[in-house]
């Protein structure tokens, strides 16, 4: 009898625990109407007119948004282990770059609405052929009170960027045929850059931060090795000399960075008061996305990027909550499926790709069949909960270079089978696909383990391809070994991956598309193999990317980049799947919030203020 009591107790406990563990692993399929609720979350137009005004010899930017109240704090967050360096020229990861962007302004910045480059630290700039003449604002100061002059710009470009200190990606991206642009100081507030050839992407590089010469010069003199460790996160934030709207005052590793407003910033409101309004800006360093959601719900965070699966939950809370959600439109990230087109052999004469499989992958009909059988809509609704858009082009959907002519098409199994038949594929009695020579079509599909989104895509791709009678062995493997296979050993058949691109500058993708690019994964060549076995369309892509970079007007460039998208759309070396839609949530107390697709939710951080009274402000 006594024992029975124990047994019952234990069973109840186990049941209770089991109930608590229960969780639906597979998200419920959303109906299309539910998914389209996202349309309700629309963007307002960013109404600000910004103009240059000069007061007491200082060139300010004046904004005409409604003047607000000063003071208050905004708490933002970053996922991961925090910044790796505070040196904007060493930054190689997104978090470090975010932190650097708050602290350092560049000469130009992007217009958050149309993506064109507009002056920032520069008062204005002129482009005459190969010459870029930049006029600086007068009367601006570094956070330690020293003036910002052409000397700083010249030093940053000549001694840091062009001499190859830190992360040399900026320098590498502006070298044309191995030649670098030159920089010249004309007077105290004017700098001239000259590119060796007409080179449109150069303008984008002017958004690189400008460094205070008096702080960076001693480090540069100590050489590159010292520069790599200069201004690491060990530094006391008080020693940072910055030009941005906020200055870092406290950095607690793995917890947060606290910024205080820069009282000398050069943006003023319509009343002539110096912005930013906010007193403090705090970035919490949050280790993982789930904790970030909890922190937002617990009120410890003011702004958050909401992932697709969390949207319904946030929407429920929004009804009674003190925050609103904004749909920022498609992300710059793209998910794709790619096949290994490599037909070369390694140094021992062994083909990188099994020749039987290689023959399928290099067959355009096979690639078209794979593309047609993939159900992008299904992925959007089941993986991203409807918060994504099907994608058919290599440029992301918010790119200003997107080729609108390339139309989406639906899944079509019959047409896919036709393409396969045209290449001599047949189906045996059991419905298994066999090639001309009778080989069973079977290959591996890889992705990086641990990324649940890509794993879900892999499962769906496998199921879709099975409709054609293919046998797909889906193998998620560790990220680092996947990269090793893709870029060093080339031993892979098909892969699900994602890349982020720039919505403003297709030339940033040249590493992927140039036939000798370092990320030309679908047909990766060793440096010694440059130009070997070029496919006709690879050759054309090489040509288009060269032309696209050297053409100057947007219309001319668009023509080249339209053609490149058309080639990928037709040849399908990479089959694009979908772009997630970015959704952010922000507390209602913040006013003057005008998110844009290109700028994100707080691109105008200096104009945002807090009004808890409610009523007059926006939102």
């Amino acid at each position: 009898m006594k024992n029975l009591g124990y047994v019952v107790l234990v069973i109840i406990l186990v049941l209770l625990l089991g109930k608590a563990c229960l969780r639906r692993d597979i998200p419920e399929t959303l109906t299309k109407t539910e998914g389209s609720q996202q349309e309700k979350l629309t963007l307002d137009v960013y109404p600000a007119n910004r103009k240059n005004v000069t007061i007491n010899g200082v060139d300010y930017i004046q904004t005409d948004l409604p003047a607000g109240k000063f003071g208050g704090t905004m708490i933002n967050s970053t996922i991961g282990e925090g910044p790796k360096t505070f040196n904007p020229f060493n930054s190689k990861d997104a978090t470090s770059s975010t932190f650097a962007d708050i602290m350092y302004d560049g000469l130009v910045t992007i217009d958050p609405v149309n993506g064109q480059y507009i002056p920032k630290l520069a008062k204005s700039f002129e482009i005459n052929g190969n010459d870029y003449i930049v006029h600086l604002r007068r009367g601006l100061k570094w956070s330690d009170g020293k003036p910002i002059t052409a000397e700083d710009v010249y030093f940053t470009w000549k001694n840091i960027i062009l001499d190859g200190y830190g992360n040399t990606s900026t320098r590498d991206s502006i070298s044309v045929d191995g030649k670098l642009p030159t920089v010249q100081k004309i007077d105290n507030y004017t700098v001239k850059f000259t590119t060796p050839k007409p080179f449109a992407p150069f303008l984008a590089s002017l958004s690189t931060p400008i460094a205070p010469k008096h702080v960076f010069e001693p480090a540069v003199k100590k050489g590159k090795e010292f520069f790599d460790t200069f201004m690491s996160t060990n530094i006391n934030p008080k020693d940072l000399v910055t030009s941005g709207p906020f200055k870092m005052v406290e950095y607690v590793p793995a917890q947060r960075a606290v910024y205080k407003r820069n009282p000398d910033y050069y943006v003023i409101n319509s009343k002539g008061e110096k912005l930013p309004y906010l007193d403090k800006l705090i970035y919490l360093i949050v280790g993982d996305a789930n904790n970030e959601v909890l922190k937002f719900e617990g009120g410890e965070l003011d702004v958050i990027g909401v992932k697709g699966p969390d949207v319904p939950r946030f929407k429920e809370r929004q009804e009674h909550g003190d925050f609103s959600m904004v749909n920022l439109g498609p992300d710059t990230g793209t998910m794709y499926l790619s096949m290994n087109l490599n037909d070369r052999t390694d140094e021992n004469g062994k083909p990188y790709v099994d020749p039987i499989k290689g023959k399928w992958f290099r067959d355009l009909n096979f690639r078209k069949a794979v593309d047609l059988v993939i159900d992008r809509e299904n992925m959007v609704y089941n993986i991203a909960n409807g918060f994504a858009k099907p994608l058919f082009t290599p440029e992301s959907l918010n790119s200003i270079f997107l080729n609108e002519e390339l139309k989406p098409y639906p899944r079509d199994v019959d047409k896919a089978k036709e393409f396969l038949r045209a290449s001599g594929f047949t189906w045996d009695k059991k419905g298994r696909l066999r090639d001309k020579d009778g080989n069973r079509v079977e290959f591996d599909l890889l992705t990086n383990a641990g990324n649940s989104e890509r794993e879900a895509i892999g499962v769906m791709v496998k199921q879709d391809l099975e409709d054609l009678g293919m046998k797909v062995n889906f193998k998620p493997i560790e990220f680092n070994s996947l990269v090793n296979k893709l870029l060093s050993t080339y031993e892979w058949d098909m892969v699900v991956m994602g890349l982020t691109g720039s919505p403003l500058e297709p030339n940033g993708g040249k590493n992927v598309w140039l036939s000798n690019g370092a990320l030309h994964m679908y047909n990766q060549r060793k440096p010694a193999e440059a130009g070997v076995n070029l496919l006709p369309w690879e050759k054309e892509l090489d040509y288009l990317f060269e032309k696209g970079a050297t053409a100057l007007s947007f219309e001319d460039r668009k023509k080249y980049y339209d053609r490149y998208q058309e080639i990928i759309y037709n040849e399908k070396p990479m089959i694009y799947l979908y772009s997630p839609v970015r959704i952010s949530a922000i507390r209602n107390k913040f006013k003057n919030v005008y998110p844009t697709s290109l700028g994100g939710i707080i691109h105008n951080i200096e104009e945002i203020y807090i009004d808890t009274g409610g009523g007059n402000g926006h939102n």
């Binding site: 107790l9 406990l13 608590a20 563990c21 704090t73 708490i75 991961g80 282990e81 790796k84 360096t85 060493n90 190689k92 992360n167 040399t168 990606s169 590498d172 991206s173 090795e225 790599d228 460790t229 200069f230 690491s232 996160t233 060990n234 005052v249 406290e250 607690v252 590793p253 793995a254 917890q255 947060r256 606290v258 705090i282 919490l284 949050v286 280790g287 993982d288 904790n291 909890l294 922190k295 719900e297 617990g298 009120g299 410890e300 560790e478 990220f479 680092n480 070994s481 990269v483 090793n484 870029l487 890349l499 982020t500 691109g501 940033g508 993708g509 590493n511 992927v512 370092a518 990320l519």
Partner: protein, 325 residues
């Protein structure tokens, strides 16, 4: 004098051990197919030149034996090197060690303070309802996975709003006065301490109970009882003295766990301790940081055992005479 000789001998013995540990771990990290540059290589805006330069800077272009030699040389000199991002490893560890120590010492202190007496009570009141209840509770404590319990408590914090959601300090910590600071840290510590306390309390209580029960069953205790000594004296003067020896060995292991025992809980609570730092380092194959933490773990374990053995010499005369022979 003998004790000093013994200590010296033990310390000398650790040297080959540390060399073996370091060689094995270095080889394991470097031979695993983890490419420390994988993330950079997949970033379209990073050029080949930058990659080559990074490879050279991190010494990845050299052979593993040479890499190990370089690492060992600077390690012996007391230089832990720099992380792959150019931060000083020693500095990084220094930032995190106090946080982890704060958490683990509180937990160890509390568990011993509560666990040992509970174990004694359970053993003395063997098979009483109190013992049974304690058994059920500790079984639950031992069975519940730490990360799961931590997640439950986090949800509790969100729903009630009584506790902060992870971290160690609030975002306005800098502006608080001393009293508020202490209160703030205490508030942040309650949940992680609860998790770790529940889990290690269970083990300790069972251990203490078992040890004491063994001893209480032995002949000399029966003899002492037969002599008519009060039960209190039997338990606390005679039995406990012997039952405590295995606990001292356990304390040595707890010492080793001071810096490495709480990684999972730290991760769930976003606690800025060593666990998160080292997890990230392993993922990125940040060799200097991983090696520093592994060596630290090995040294702590050896040190913990040494301390336990020394304590045993003092508490247990049998070992004392055995050790000097």
């Amino acid at each position: 004098m003998d004790i000093i000789k013994y200590i010296l001998k033990r310390i000398l013995q650790t040297i080959p051990l540390l060399i073996i540990v370091s060689v094995v771990s270095f080889a394991l990290i470097r031979l695993s197919p983890v490419d420390p540059l994988a993330e950079l290589r997949l970033n379209p805006s990073i050029s080949q030149e930058t990659l080559d330069r990074e490879r050279e800077r991190l010494g990845l272009d050299k052979n593993i034996a040479v890499q190990y030699g370089l690492w060992a040389k600077s390690f012996i000199k007391g230089d832990l090197g720099i992380t792959s991002n150019g931060e000083s490893v020693a500095q990084k560890l220094k930032e995190r060690i106090p946080n982890t120590l704060l958490l683990t010492t509180i937990v160890i202190f509390l568990t011993w303070l509560v666990g040992v007496p509970l174990g004694i009570i359970a053993a003395v009141k063997w098979k009483s309802p109190l013992d049974r209840i304690l058994t059920v509770l500790t079984s639950i404590g031992m069975a519940i996975p730490s990360f799961f319990f931590a997640v439950l408590l986090l949800i509790f914090a969100v729903k009630t709003g009584w506790f902060p959601i992870g971290g160690l300090t609030s975002s306005n910590f800098l502006e608080m006065n001393l009293g508020q600071k202490v209160l703030d840290i205490t508030k942040h510590l309650i949940l992680p301490v609860t998790v770790l306390f529940t889990i290690s309390l269970a083990g300790l209580q069972r251990q203490m109970r078992g040890n004491l029960l063994d001893v209480l069953d032995s002949d000399y205790v029966k003899f002492a009882r037969a002599k008519g000594i009060s039960e209190f004296k039997v338990v606390f003067k005679h039995a406990l003295r012997n039952a405590i020896n295995p606990m001292i060995t356990l304390l040595g292991f707890e010492f080793a766990g001071l810096l490495s025992g709480a990684a999972l809980t730290e991760y769930v609570f976003q606690y800025p301790g060593l666990g998160r730092l080292i997890l990230e380092a392993v993922m990125k194959s940040d060799i200097n940081l991983v090696m520093a933490s592994l060596m630290m773990g090995a040294i702590m374990l050896i040190l913990g055992n040494l301390i336990a053995d020394l304590l045993l010499i003092f508490t247990d005369p049998r070992i004392r005479t055995g050790g000097t022979k």
